[in-house]
């Protein structure tokens, strides 16, 4: 262990790569999530539960159900994502890996983005993939299934990104759960409105491309801004 040599190398030589840091963090996170398989299924179970409860609370009337299906599926997906947010940084905060993440030489925003991508891959993506199954149960017209999946894919990524800001702001607080929902829900409303609205338009047979593009724009905006805001929030959460 010749510190002198390595030290000089570190200063003059190339720095660890951005992509190397991103992919290492992403693969570590996915591995962690798959190691806790029961937690992995939680958002999906919650999603299915809400969708099952609504017909029971209303009526088994397929015209009624199909008219509320877009909104219902979207609200259920949104709540499932919200439920999973609290754990996004909490464990890392407790065991100190969050501290080390912020100390890595790579820009913090990029590493936070890797965590968010891992979160989306294990919550938003599976939600979008199983949504047609539940949509069938709510008699959503078949021709709008692809639009439903597409809006959920785009929208849930936006939800993960915005939610990361809230999770980062509340990670240092002992009881941050309810507060997290209060902070995040107003910010989620545009995604919900455009997501569910686009599916409704698809049912009516109206053109949906502009609204899908708009959802893509929201995703792009949050992709640019949210990781950095979350990184700043994480820094202050560790300070406080």
């Amino acid at each position: 262990m010749t510190a002198e040599r390595t030290a000089t190398d570190r200063i003059a030589g190339p720095l660890p790569g951005l992509w190397q840091g991103f992919s290492a963090t992403l693969s570590r996170d996915c591995r962690l999530r798959f190691r806790r398989r029961s937690e992995l299924a939680n958002p999906l179970i919650f999603f299915a539960l809400i969708v099952t409860l609504f017909p029971l609370g209303l009526a088994p009337d397929s015209t009624l159900l199909s008219s509320i299906a877009p909104g219902l599926l979207w609200v259920a997906a949104l709540l499932s994502v919200l439920l999973s947010l609290d754990g996004l940084f909490r464990d890392d905060f407790d065991d100190g890996t969050l501290e080390q993440l912020l100390l890595a030489p790579q820009p913090t925003g990029i590493l936070v983005l890797a965590r968010i991508v891992a979160h989306w891959l294990t919550t938003g993506l599976p939600l979008a993939l199983i949504s047609p199954l539940l949509a069938v149960m709510l008699s959503l017209p078949g021709h709008s299934m692809d639009v439903l999946m597409l809006t959920l894919l785009l929208g849930s990524a936006t939800l993960s990104l915005i939610g990361a800001i809230g999770a980062a702001l509340t990670v240092g607080l002992r009881r941050g759960g309810v507060l997290l929902s209060l902070l995040i829900l107003p910010l989620y409303t545009p995604v919900l409105i455009f997501g569910a609205g686009t599916v409704r338009l698809a049912i009516e047979g109206a053109p949906v491309a502009p609204w899908l593009a708009l959802m893509g724009a929201m995703l792009a905006l949050s992709l640019l801004a949210a990781p950095w805001a979350a990184a700043a929030a994480l820094k202050l959460s560790l300070d406080g």
Binding site: A7, I11, P16, Q20, G96, E99, L103, Q106
Partner: protein, 222 residues
Amino acid sequence: MQLETRKLGCERDERWLFSDLDWQIGAGELWRIEGPNGSGKTTLLRILSGQMADYTGTLLWQGEPLSRCRETFMASMLYIGHRPGIKRALTALENLDWYQAMSAVKEGGARARRDACFQALEAVGLAGFEETPVESLSAGQQRRVALARLALGHQWLWILDEPFTAIDHDGVRQLEAWMTAHCRAGGSVVVTSHHDSGELSPASGVLRNLRFDGLGGVHVDR
């Protein structure tokens, strides 16, 4: 190669923990930070390691403000805090491999990275436990996983907050030996410790002290 503070001060909620601290950490120096609880030891370490931007004065890394050379500084600094920074659900090897990926330049790809991790784990006496999930290791062993990062040996400056907690006698001896060797080889160490003496002998010739008096004053060995 040094880290320097000029008129460094830190105020939390209208209370000054310390102020006007002029201090230089040069090559081959081992600094021990002493002081009563709540006097600002950990805060100082967190500022030095670039985690807290909430201070007055300037922090220079090789004569350059820290904010301007964050990347090179973070690549040459290793910080271990109260929390070990180890994922309990992952194995010791997986934990170390992540750190290696974050800090090391790609040299020979994933294979070389794993080899380095194996060697480091062996150096802290965890040979044979590489593939065990950390949560099934003992508290002392878990701490050793974190300390194995020192053996990966990339960083010039080590900042260690209470590294001796939960380690047995032999482990303490070994850690001391590493710290001294690191300094002899031109590295630097900043360490806080509740232990009075014994583990870090002044006879090594590298030890210096920085002492908080708990009333906002700081005394630096010259």
